[in-house]
Symmetry: D2
Subunit: 136 residues, 4 copies
Amino acid sequence: MPAFETRQKIMFQHCDPAGIVFYPRYVEMFNAVVERWFEQGLELSFAELVMERGKGVPTAHLEVAFKAPSRLGEVLDLSLVVTKLGASSVTCAIEARCGDEMRIGGTVTLVHIDGARMKSEPWPGDLRTKIENYLI
Amino acid sequence: MPAFETRQKIMFQHCDPAGIVFYPRYVEMFNAVVERWFEQGLELSFAELVMERGKGVPTAHLEVAFKAPSRLGEVLDLSLVVTKLGASSVTCAIEARCGDEMRIGGTVTLVHIDGARMKSEPWPGDLRTKIENYLI
Amino acid sequence: MPAFETRQKIMFQHCDPAGIVFYPRYVEMFNAVVERWFEQGLELSFAELVMERGKGVPTAHLEVAFKAPSRLGEVLDLSLVVTKLGASSVTCAIEARCGDEMRIGGTVTLVHIDGARMKSEPWPGDLRTKIENYLI
Amino acid sequence: MPAFETRQKIMFQHCDPAGIVFYPRYVEMFNAVVERWFEQGLELSFAELVMERGKGVPTAHLEVAFKAPSRLGEVLDLSLVVTKLGASSVTCAIEARCGDEMRIGGTVTLVHIDGARMKSEPWPGDLRTKIENYLI
């Protein structure tokens, strides 16, 4: 099972006047899942990637289906798998569940770039090998 | 010309360590475009919709293509049109441009719900008529 | 030692174009420290307090000294103690350190209110007793 | 009358499950007031200050009193005056009112720094002269 898994508790800062997660906060959570995956799964922190190596992985495409609302105090189980790996891009499918209930599911496509030139750049070989471990 | 149009300046709070808009902030902007459209275009503010009428318009689906980065101090021209109108849902296409350059384009699908029951509910007739003005 | 302690990693979403934590995000972290303290230290989650009991603890006063910047990837050690406990209010001193370096220090004063009336209300006795455990 | 004045509408993204502005969002608004003051009042945008000149104005100290809650749809009138001008620092008093009611009042102390060295640096003479126009 190649998924990267992490958890996120729904806090006050995530919730809107309807008492449920405000959907842009979910997108922030998606980004946090990717960030933790880089650090814990790919062993390359964003701090090292962005600040030391001068690279970046901006999001090129995002798609999210919001299936059921999430409430203050709930804990989401988030999982990430790679569905497509290009020369300088990667598409990840991310799901959030609470217990047995699917809450949100979506995909994010990231592009590996050189930060100074803001141009796409092929994945370095060692990073690419690690990403392949999560490819389904 | 059926589009609802508004502007958003890129501020410090929107930008990430790469000096460009952090993409979850774009999603917050999308929500703000919808919120202004309701108030200015449909003449029904979120305050009235959510607080007084006890309804809501949670997002069921979101898709965004990020075409080019936006930087601190730039002004985005945002436009919204309706691409699909269902019994209790609406799909809006939103674009953000800076001058002639397309920066982001996407769709959001909202569902009209009763806030207490958290169940979808058909659009009231007068609101539906106003939404149709933006249908392409 | 009566302090409540928790940790927060500095993530991409916290950082500004200067590559350091954008200070309103620190204030969000302060709120998260209080929220975790209620749940883990006082055994009363915000979900129970706000949603089930219909109460709230809005912030009445905030003071923060930002002593040194924090960067992407760093881990902050946050501590909270109670410096003043009133009939329906509490003042907490919160500090954030990274290793030996003090990064921020401040105080937040919360007021216990009834959510429907938006009026202050004395702490319930059992909650007050638990808060006293953190009083210095 | 030396105050810099601006307005902010309370939007969905500012509000918490209690239906009022979540206080860290007020701090974000404070920062936006300072940012608009630099651009419109001091004629030096953050984009120019940070990106072109390589300087910054991080916040060294913040104090805010939250006097009354603000709700979705309300419009806040924000004003800023300078209460203290140091060699490389400035303290601004910021107030937010809704109609006649004071909602929040506070101070922020900013320090002018060189971004690369992260060290304080005296205000340039022309900028200092403009800041003095707002000194009370």
